[in-house]
Symmetry: C2
């Protein structure tokens, strides 16, 4: 499925609109509320909600037939003449970083066709960084500067830099044990970063990202981004990511195989 | 001890020179070497070394009597007419973030007078952020924009956001236990960040920073920065930081007291 230039431009406009809403909230006193849910502390910001509203308004106006799935405002089914397009949105992924004044968060905008993510944007409007994966390629745009993203080689897990957002908060005890087996072999492990660590993998500075179960809006944009940079992103079992999968992303297929074994898949 | 404008301008020039050296290395393939030392993985970059050489060259040329202590090139004693000034340098604090393409590192430049840190700069040349603490004030400079830094109130540890770089790597088992006692009470704990988390505390987004023993070049610049923003930075025992101290920084004195008790000081 090739995404045409017009659709890519539309996706970029969504990211522009989202960033314009979010940017003024960063490092301001923001309202933090609590949602019932899986995690003990899951802040929701006005920035997140305002940006999702801004994106939805544009889609509703210009592409009213498209379906939408967003973290904040749920699902909008496709119109009667269902066109197989769906936008998957999470305008502030990495809310804990955001509310502590740190930069490792991003706005996630994915476009799915018939359930398959075919375009993924990670936009960091404060840094002015936009990572885009589409049509088998991935790039970082910084103003006029365009950098092609390419994962790096890493033949062996022992040489790998491993990232995960927060195993102690987001993984079950069994999952933490599995993660610890990979960590014991990897050269360096770094925590936190949410979507941003997938971007660093796509850029060739991180070799392995391991996360527990993610929501679709956390992962959909990451799939075209990682794959477009030549990486692999699957469940812990090596199978394509699906609802309920735990997430494994690797830059090098050899490390991917090693990680799957240690995580307990394909034994 | 008031630091005059001329000296502040000189310190800013050192940071400018350092940033100019470091900036091109970020997100490039960099040479990573290993030093013997406390930590299992302690990368040293060309950026770090080049920036320290650039800073030292300026000091040697324009203020040859000043003493220098730098992470990479050691100590230069003060000249015969010892003038009590010493520069304490760590051009890339947060090397692990740097080599993984992440932004939470900074260039630390401190000025001591008679052993007391009186000026501290945390410069992030890629983000264009410069945090400066001097003469009882702290500011963030971003180009022409100047933001006065002020810690936030936080009456109780249970409401606090706690940060630490990496207890599992940089703290002894006993220290990790003490840290865990604070973490058990705090509302939210975030890892990594090195110097950058002190800046977020000065800015009012983080309430407590706990680190194990730090080198002087890791902490000297943080003292005027945190104190200038109205915060408190001491050893775990609440006493002024000295060689060998473990580090506790808080925005609110009430949380500082609570943390000291849990860490095992002043019981």
């Amino acid at each position: 499925m090739i995404v045409d230039e017009k659709m890519i431009a539309f996706a970029n406009r969504l990211a522009d609109a989202s960033g314009a809403v979010i940017r003024p909230y960063f490092r301001q006193r923001i309202e933090v509320t609590h949602k019932p849910g899986v995690h003990a502390f899951d802040p929701v910001t006005e920035a997140d909600r305002g940006a999702e509203r801004a994106i939805r308004a544009i889609i509703d106006r210009e592409r009213p037939q498209d379906a939408i799935l967003g973290e904040e405002y749920g699902e909008k089914p496709a119109g009667l003449s269902a066109n197989k397009w769906r936008w998957v949105l999470d305008p502030v992924d990495g809310t804990r970083a955001f509310i502590t004044g740190r930069h490792e968060w991003g706005s996630l905008i994915a476009l799915e066709h018939d359930g398959v993510p075919v375009l993924g944007i990670l936009d960091q409007p404060v840094l002015g960084e936009r990572f885009i994966g589409v049509n088998g390629r991935a790039v970082l745009l910084e103003g006029e500067k365009r950098t092609v993203l390419k994962v790096r080689e890493c033949p062996a897990l022992k040489d790998a830099t491993l990232c995960a957002t927060d195993p102690s908060a987001y993984m079950s005890p069994d999952e933490q044990d599995a993660f610890a087996r990979v960590k014991a072999v990897a050269r360096l492990t770094r925590y936190h970063g949410d979507c941003y660590i997938f971007a660093m993998l796509a850029m060739g500075f991180v070799d392995v990202v391991i996360e527990g179960p993610l929501h679709r809006w956390d992962i959909a944009a990451m799939i075209p981004l990682v794959e477009g940079a030549g990486g692999i992103i699957t469940g812990w079992d090596g199978e394509p990511w699906r609802e309920g999968s735990r997430t494994l992303a690797c830059g090098d297929a050899r490390v991917h195989e090693q990680a799957i074994k240690l995580l307990g898949g394909r034994q």
